[in-house]
């Protein structure tokens, strides 16, 4: 600093007269005056309240129905059965009956929900190998150490998919039945198209092999299935061969770990091409036939089935409109207080 500059002369060390160096950069100095702040507060209050009202109206037009089937009805026996780990391989089916009073108009989504299941534990979340799931052959046979101890099965084979997340995959399956006067019929559900496009097409890929003729089972040869699974990964969907392996959509949905212990995950979407479901789910009596596999009693968890329609801003969400309304009202209150204060004490004047 302060070194003599190269240009000699009587004023060689005179600092430059630039706006930057003289701290005279042109600038905008916003001021918190009543003329700007108060209208802003009122404006924000109105915006929030209006948004809140709009959202509330929108939410009123959406429907959601939750059916807890943990040990409801005939599922009670399955619940008891799953308490004992020895019965893990025995299947157990049960049915839960419920009633829809108003027609679910539009697209209807079928979710399964879990209560008190911690998908967000650090050790749990880390226990996966994205390199394996993207189909890298190296990782397929040699999973990341993050998967410990779900890395090798008891035969010493590498597990695919490895890790605790995949291992604990939800394995109940559902059949939704509609009981109308015309008799009972299965509600058609799309079981594909329930994942993010990026997950299905980028994040999860089956292992690539040069020989295209190999079956998925052959590709996965030399790997073991996760400890708690009843089926190997290449056989998850018996009806659709292209929905197997790492790109099985139920697996992908499960692998997107929930942030909170209570969550719901998409199971299927109503196929509206078939009568009488073109408008959505008609009102009436329904039942869900459940293949009850997933034990929740260990962690005092609960399981539920959720049927829901969506609006322009997503699924049924009462929090957002209420929060907007509350915020809007609070801001309005603040604005009134500010106005009162400003009115009473007025603008200050400069006096010294």
């Amino acid at each position: 600093m302060g070194k003599a500059k190269a240009n000699a002369g009587p004023l060689a060390r005179r600092p430059d007269n630039s706006a930057f160096k003289q701290q005279r950069l042109p600038a905008w100095s916003p001021m918190l005056t009543a003329q700007t702040v108060l209208p802003f507060f009122y404006g924000m209050a109105i915006v929030c309240v209006l948004l809140g009202v709009w959202l509330l109206v929108t939410v009123q037009n959406t429907h959601e129905l939750k059916v807890d089937y943990t040990h409801t009805g005939s599922c009670d026996k399955c619940f008891e059965k799953r308490k004992d780990r020895a019965n893990a391989n025995q299947s157990c089916n049960c049915t839960v009956v419920f009633n829809i009073e108003n027609t679910f108009k539009g697209d209807v989504f079928f979710y399964y929900g879990l209560i008190n299941f911690h998908q967000n534990l650090r050790q749990y979340m880390d226990s996966r190998d994205d390199g394996q799931m993207i189909g890298r052959n190296k990782n397929l046979k040699n999973p990341s150490s993050y998967c410990e101890p779900f890395i090798k099965d008891k035969n010493g084979l590498p597990i695919a998919p490895c890790g605790a997340v995949a291992n604990s995959m939800f394995n109940d399956s559902f059949t939704l039945l509609y009981h109308s006067a015309a008799g009972s019929r299965v509600v058609p559900l799309f079981r594909k198209g329930i994942t993010w496009y990026t997950d299905k097409n980028v994040k999860f890929r089956n292992p690539q092999v040069e020989n295209k003729t190999l079956t998925l089972a052959q590709v996965f040869e030399g790997t073991g299935q996760p400890l708690y699974w009843q089926k190997p990964v290449y056989d998850l969907d018996p009806w659709d061969r292209n929905n197997n392996g790492f790109i099985n959509e139920d697996l992908i949905v499960w692998m997107r770990e929930a942030a909170f212990p209570n969550f719901k995950k998409l199971y299927g979407v109503l196929n509206r091409a078939i009568e009488p479901f073109t408008d959505g789910l008609p009102a009436g009596n329904y039942s869900v036939l459940i293949s009850y596999n997933f034990p929740v009693e260990y962690f005092q968890g609960r399981k539920e089935v959720v049927l829901s329609t969506v609006s322009w801003f997503g699924g049924q969400n009462n929090f957002l409109p209420v929060a907007y309304l509350v915020t809007g009202c609070l801001i309005l209150l603040l604005a009134v207080i500010l106005t009162a204060v400003w009115w009473k004490f007025g603008e200050f004047s400069v006096d010294f």
Partner: protein, 1032 residues
């Protein structure tokens, strides 16, 4: 002495100075080692190590490494450039060994070396001989003390006879016994033993490392100190490290935050223990591998969780804090250096911030301690009046009260200085009448000084004076016909009224602050020996012959008058000496000056002995004009509630006069109390009565302080440099206030170093003050701008910066705390690891830096116009523990809203295509986006002065955030590093959702509005002066 083998036996330092601390190979390890000695860096290193332990590593090591490496890199680059400057300085010259060239670093103590003109002196060298007559040589000491006038050094006569005779020099086998290495640049005591004789050595015979040889073709010298033992090196790095109060506060707060961090860690660890006990245990079926938990060792799990959370929450004290603070301070220093309004055009001197660490303290100064001479005044001395033999000369008004306008015509004297002006003709007449006392008066002025004449062309004399007083007096003598023409170590040549007269110089009894006088002993051509003495009047009057009583009374009346006009006075006296007395005294002098221990005292006693029984000649009065703008500056600073104390060595009358003329004392202050007692008791009594001080006895300190602080103005006169420092120390320790000392001379150095902030005026008295100072400029009036504009802004900016920085990091980090309650206290992070890595160093660093560098709450014109705007800094209200508490509160509140609004909105919500969005990755993107937007809006509200740079940084940071977010979540990166970028597609799938933007908007509004309302209420209900000024 020139025998290397013999000298090798002693452990002398070699001349290899590593001014450059590093070389290419050692740079990395040494620099890293030094950096990790800083507590903050070491802390982050520990964190890094913790992160490598898999059981507790809640964050990938990258998150700490990237910022840490960046910080280390920036610091290392800075160190390296600093060092590079040193390297280039160190390799300028080679030195020439007798008959052989050697590199600098090979010089050893005891070597005899040859230096050539314009070469740097390579070590501390005893001058043996030179090309100039009498073994003289000239040096420039700019590198040492900044003084650019040439100084003369002279070899001992015995050694100067050696000349350039190599063989004789090689045979030179003298032995030097000297003081141990020290850092006193102006003192050296040693003795040369050679051929069974003892020769005294002092500073006059030394060439110190760092000097440059000038006007001397060559010289030979013997190395006395080399390498690190040289005075230059001994002087390095001794300056005490000053820290600002904000700095100390910051360190305290960082400690508090650590405490807070540990508390959080403990809470979460306990939470984890309980959770594992109640819930986690039953969940362990999915997490088989946790050995401790499988063994139901929940306490151990809690312990691990504690460390995991320490790692996660460490961003509360981000590593970038210290770097950002440094950058901001550096920027402020540059703004000071660049300020044209503190640039003094006459001398081509810009202001300079010599330390970059104290800027914000400039906005908190409460006490200014100012030197008078050269600080308040110009220190351009003009010989104004004199009193010779009881008659006063130099009044501008003649006896009839008419103003004399015509200047005395000095054309009779071809050697006169044309710039010199004097109005009283009677003095010249007295000279022309050849009045002996007048002649003696000017002869004394021409003889008794240390000025060096330079005569480039015939008759074109330039005096190189170390003190302007001397210059003025010698110039006066020159114009009145007693021209000091040239000097050798043993003679002084005057041209007395046109004829050359040679005086033999027998001894110089030099000036120092204790003696306050200087004498020379000369033999005139007629063979008479005379001692001429000039010095402070009190000192001289004490040593006068009793026969001078009457003269002394008249002279002291004159002196009183002179001082009353604010002039600097000196009394002059002479003494005739007897040849025998002198001879005996000279022998003792020679002996005393060869002693090593207590040489100073011995010499002082000898001087004292001969300077008695003096005959008074008269007194001189030199005018020192006030600097431009001093009264206005003082008035303005007083309005800013800064107390200004003047500490001066001058006489009471002079000091009071200056006090009146610079507005410190006003006519309406009719209670000017003067305390000038000498004994403790006397002072005590006077202190009880009134004010102004003269004593610094320990027991009186408190009384002094209390009374002084009651006063509007304090002027301490007759203080020594040490006392100046004591006064500063007294206020500094007892008042808890920020002190600033300003001065220009060597006598102010101690005060400058003692005060919180030292300001040096680069004026007439060399550069010592500037070199010791933290800030320097050329004129006192710039102090106003330095404090009221630069200091105020620095303080304001630093406070705003800290407030925002802490707020930002609390808001950022504490989200993890809330999330802990939902994720089983498992230390799962809310954000993407990359976001944690980049948040502080990329996404939010630049806007707050721009605010810290450019923000202005009020413009400079208003800062000057309303000096009371300076008050908040003194009261330290902009950032203190209360403010810190508030910003913590704001940060905690923001983090709460940031977490719970998205939680409420998304915990059970699907996308508009039905697929779910409540997964952890989507949640991370939503919260981090909200966070970045909230803190950006907040910085927008905190910025009062939006320059283009602010706009670019704020909008740019947001743009960069989204750009990086999408890049990190892109297909390409994922397919290359699947395990490092697992967030593939999250940004795309989230940020296209309307509900996400609804949530982000709601969060932003909810986080920002309360703060805005509070701020508005504050300005409306309790407007500060700043608000009022802004409102105008």
């Amino acid at each position: 002495a020139n025998d290397r083998d013999y000298n090798e036996k002693f452990p002398y330092a070699d001349n290899h100075i590593r001014t450059c601390k590093y070389n290419v190979f050692t740079f990395l390890p040494i620099n890293l080692f030094e950096q990790f000695q800083r507590a903050a860096n070491a802390y982050f290193l520990v964190l890094l190590i913790l992160q490598l332990i898999p059981e507790i590593s809640s964050l990938s090591w990258v998150t700490t490494t990237v910022p840490l490496v960046m910080v280390l890199l920036i610091t290392a680059v800075k160190d390296a450039t600093d060092d590079y400057v040193n390297i280039s300085l160190n390799s300028i010259t080679f030195y020439s060994f007798v008959l052989q060239n050697e590199k600098w670093m090979n010089v050893r103590v005891g070597d005899i070396i040859k230096l050539e003109n314009n070469h740097f002196v390579t070590a501390d060298i005893l001058l043996l001989s030179s090309s100039e007559p009498y073994g003289l040589c000239y040096i420039e000491t700019a590198e040492l003390d900044g003084e650019t006038n040439l100084k003369v050094r002279q070899a001992l006569t015995v050694t100067s006879d050696l000349g350039a005779d190599i063989t004789k020099l090689v045979d030179f086998n003298g032995e030097v016994i000297c003081e141990p290495p020290n850092n006193k640049l102006d003192k050296f005591t040693g003795t040369l033993y050679w051929r069974d004789n003892k020769y005294p050595l002092d500073n006059e015979k030394m060439l110190l490392r760092g000097c440059v040889l000038r006007n001397t073709e060559w010289c030979f010298g013997m190395v006395v100190f080399a390498g690190l033992q040289t005075k230059l090196m001994q002087n390095c790095g001794r300056t005490k490290f000053k820290r600002t109060s904000i700095d100390k506060l910051m360190n305290t707060l960082v400690l508090w935050i650590f405490g807070f961090l540990v508390c959080m860690g403990v809470i979460l660890a306990i939470g984890n223990t309980i959770w594992e006990q109640k819930v986690g245990r039953s969940f362990s079926v999915y997490l088989l591998w946790d050995e401790p938990i499988r063994n139901n060792n929940v306490v151990f799990s809690g312990f691990l969780t504690f460390w995991s959370y320490i790692i996660i929450l460490n961003t509360m004290v981000p590593i970038s804090l210290y770097v950002s603070v440094e950058v901001i301070r550096l920027g402020h220093s540059y703004f000071i250096n660049w300020d044209r309004k503190m640039y003094y055009i006459q001398k081509d001197t810009p202001a300079e911030a010599r330390t970059t660490t104290l800027n914000e303290e400039l906005g908190q100064v409460e006490f200014i301690f100012s030197d008078k001479t050269g600080t308040l005044t110009q220190n351009i001395m003009v010989f104004n009046k004199c009193s010779i033999n009881g008659k006063s000369y130099g009044d501008v008004y003649d006896e009839f009260g008419h103003k004399r306008t015509a200047c005395v015509d000095f054309s009779f004297n071809p050697l006169s200085d044309r710039k010199f002006k004097f109005h009283d003709h009677s003095l010249l007449e007295a000279i022309k009448m050849e009045e002996p006392s007048v002649q003696d008066f000017f002869r004394l002025l021409a003889l008794c000084h240390t000025v060096m004449p330079e005569e480039k062309n015939e008759g074109d004399l330039v005096y190189q004076a170390q003190s302007p007083d001397e210059g003025a007096l010698v110039t006066a003598a020159r114009n009145f016909g007693f021209v000091f023409r040239s000097r050798t170590p043993e003679t002084v040549t005057l041209y007395e009224m046109g004829t050359a007269v040679n005086y033999q110089l027998l001894a110089i009894l030099d000036f120092n602050n204790v003696r306050k006088r200087m004498s020379v002993i000369v033999r005139n051509p007629a063979g008479h020996i005379k001692l001429y003495c000039k010095g402070a009047d009190t000192i001289i009057f004490d040593r006068l012959d009793p026969s001078n009583h009457v003269l002394m009374n008249t002279t002291s009346e004159h002196l009183y008058e002179f001082a009353g006009e604010g002039l600097r006075t000196l009394a002059l006296a002479y003494k005739d000496l007897d040849e025998n007395v002198l001879e005996e005294w000279m022998k003792r002098l020679l002996y005393a000056s060869t002693v090593i221990e207590n040489r100073e005292e011995g010499l002082a006693d000898l001087y004292e002995e001969i300077e008695t029984g003096l005959m008074l000649l008269g007194a001189t009065a030199v005018e020192d004009k006030l600097q431009e703008g001093v009264p206005e500056t003082i008035a303005c600073l007083t309005l800013a509630n800064i107390k200004i104390w003047v500490l001066t060595g001058d006489k009471l009358e002079t000091a009071m006069n200056i006090g009146y003329s610079c507005n410190m004392l006003r006519d309406d202050m009719n209670e000017v109390f003067i305390i000038s007692g000498h004994s403790v008791l006397e002072v005590q009594q006077q202190l009880r009565l009134g004010l102004m001080a003269h004593a610094l006895e320990p027991e009186l300190e408190q009384v002094l302080l209390e009374t002084a602080c009651l006063c509007k103005t304090v002027i301490c006169c007759r203080v020594t440099p040490m006392q100046k420092a004591q006064v500063v120390e007294l206020v500094k320790t007892n008042k808890m206030a920020v002190t600033l000392a300003i001065g220009d001379g060597a006598n102010d150095v101690s005060m400058i170093k003692t005060a919180h902030i030292g300001v040096g005026i680069s004026g007439q008295e060399g550069m010592q003050a500037v070199l010791a100072s933290d800030y320097s400029f050329a004129q006192f009036r710039y102090l106003q701008r330095l404090l009221l504009v630069h200091g105020r802004w620095s303080y304001f900016r630093m406070c705003n910066f800290l407030f925002y920085f802490f707020y930002k990091n609390f808001a950022f980090t504490l989200v993890h705390f809330w999330f802990g309650f939902f994720c089983g206290f498992s230390a799962q992070t809310v954000y993407d690891q990359w976001f944690i890595t980049l948040f502080n160093i990329v996404y939010t660093s630049l806007p707050v830096l721009a605010m810290g560098l450019f923000d202005q709450d009020v413009n400079e014109a208003n800062s000057h116009r309303y000096p009371s705007l300076y008050r908040p800094g003194q009261l330290n209200v902009l950032f203190n523990k209360r403010q810190f508490f508030l910003c913590t509160l704001q940060g905690v509140g923001t983090s709460f809203l940031l977490f719970f609004i998205p939680y409420g909105a998304f915990c059970l919500v699907a996308r508009d295509d039905g697929s779910h969005i409540s997964d952890q990755q989507a949640f991370a993107v939503i919260i981090s986006t909200s966070l970045v937007i909230v803190v950006s809006v907040q910085i927008g509200l905190d910025t009062y002065y939006w320059t283009a740079v602010n706009h670019v940084f704020v909008w740019g940071s947001l743009a960069v955030y989204f750009a990086i977010l999408f890049a990190m979540h892109s297909d390409g990166l994922f397919s290359i590093f699947p395990s490092h970028f697992p967030f593939i597609g999250t940004a795309r799938n989230c940020l296209t959702q309307k509900s996400v933007w609804l949530v982000i908007m709601l969060t932003t509004v909810a986080c920002v509005m309360p703060g805005l309302a509070v701020r508005f209420l504050k300005t409306d209900l309790y407007p500060t002066l700043t608000d009022k000024v802004k409102g105008t």
